[in-house]
């Protein structure tokens, strides 16, 4: 044997076709070429002998014993057994169908939540002209802050004077506020508000024409 004479390409080709020559499914000329190569290449010849032995070993019967008679008897028993009630076969659900189902579900939940919210509202958020005017709470004061007043200062003012906003701002930028405590304080409160530099206007709502 003169393995050195063989090129790596030939050995690679030999390696690739060995299984199919062993199976006897390779074309005849491939088989003849391989035999010629093996006669010259010791390494490939050794490899082919190993693979032949591997094939012989794999052709041996399984080393796990499974009784064919018992197995077939069990199969017939299974075939003869009454079939359990089965549900009609469901068609496989496509991905798009699932996405659509999720979208419909989300919409249904949204509509339900919206309906529940509307149902829970005791009064509409609008007033028709035929309805009587809303009754302002007693002691309400209409207050217009200076335009430059910051929200923080406005909140501080409400806190200092113990007021809460019940309406506004209107078209003129005025808010309707009421004292959190007794309305009896209103007169004094009005004076204090008017004295504040941050307040342009402070008028009791009752006096507003």
């Amino acid at each position: 044997m003169t393995s050195e004479k063989n090129s790596g390409t030939d050995c690679t080709r030999a390696w690739e076709i060995m299984p199919w020559v062993l199976q006897a499914t390779a074309p005849q000329e491939q088989g003849e070429w391989l035999m010629h190569h093996l006669a010259q290449c010791e390494a490939c010849s050794t490899e082919f002998a190993q693979q032949s032995r591997l094939r012989s070993a794999l052709a041996l019967p399984a080393d796990v014993v499974v009784d064919v008679d018992a197995g077939f008897r069990h199969l017939l028993e299974r075939i003869d057994a009454p079939e359990p009630a089965t549900l009609p076969a469901l068609r496989p659900v496509s991905r798009w169908t699932r996405i659509l189902a999720v979208a419909v579900l989300v919409q249904a939940i949204g509509i339900g939540a919206l309906g529940a919210r509307l149902w829970s509202d005791e009064a509409p958020q609008y007033r028709t002209l035929s309805q009587p005017a809303l009754v302002e709470p007693a002691g309400a004061i209409r207050v217009a802050p200076v335009p430059s007043m910051t929200l923080a200062n406005w909140n501080q003012l409400l806190h200092d004077f113990d007021l809460r906003v019940v309406d506004g701002p209107n078209a003129a930028g005025a808010f309707t506020v009421v004292p959190k405590g007794s309305p009896a304080r209103s007169t004094h409160l009005l004076q204090e508000l008017r004295a504040s530099h941050s307040i342009l206007l402070a008028e009791p709502v009752d006096d507003t024409p």
Binding site: C44, R53, L54, A57, P61, D63, V64, V66, A70
Partner: protein
């Protein structure tokens, strides 16, 4: 070889036609014809005899019910092997089992009635297959044991031909390295191909 397989396939197709008409004798003939091969094939996946019988029966249960649906796109043997492969994986999944990684496990092994030479060959093979993954073992079994082409193995395992080719290649590389050692040979002869 190919002619012989074609003859077997023609016989199998006739058996399937008879099975589609409810012929149990045809079912038994096909069952017995493939029982040995399927047992050997599935033994590369699991060593449990009870599980192998269950998978074979799952396979033929399906074949019995679907015989009329076989359109002949492949050999009957390829069709049956594919069903058995999928049933085997499903059975292992349902039990939370993995394909045997330790191929040295010999649970369910039959009595040692082989001639000495066969026993030595079987031990040599068993030790060699320990070095392969389950998928590699199955590809080696299908190519060397059953005699399938790459395309047929791809159809059975429902994998691209390239994937099957890669599994076979890596399996052969591993076997090339371990077989001579297991046979007691020196690795010097392997150097040429390395």
């Amino acid at each position: 070889m190919t002619e012989a397989r074609d003859e077997v396939d023609s016989r199998d197709r006739l058996l399937l036609e008879r099975m589609a008409a409810g012929d149990r004798a045809a079912l038994e003939t096909l069952y017995r014809a493939y029982h040995g091969g399927l047992t050997r094939f599935l033994s590369r996946l699991t060593r449990r005899a009870d599980l192998i019988e269950e998978v074979i029966n799952d396979c033929f249960w399906i074949a019995w019910r679907k015989a009329a649906d076989f359109h002949g796109d492949s050999r009957v043997s390829t069709w049956l092997m594919g069903i058995a492969y999928r049933c085997g994986l499903k059975a292992l999944r349902q039990r939370g089992d993995e394909p045997v990684d330790d191929y040295a496990l010999r649970e369910g092994r039959g009595p040692s009635h082989d001639p000495d030479e066969d026993r030595q060959l079987r031990d040599w093979l068993g030790k060699a297959l320990e070095h392969l993954s389950a998928d590699q073992r199955l590809v080696v079994e299908l190519v060397y044991g059953v005699g399938n082409s790459l395309e047929e193995v791809a159809a059975i395992m429902q994998a691209p031909v390239g994937t099957v080719k890669a599994r076979l290649f890596h399996a052969r590389i591993k076997l090339r390295n371990v077989l001579p050692v297991l046979a007691g040979e020196t690795p010097a002869q392997r150097e040429k191909l390395s």
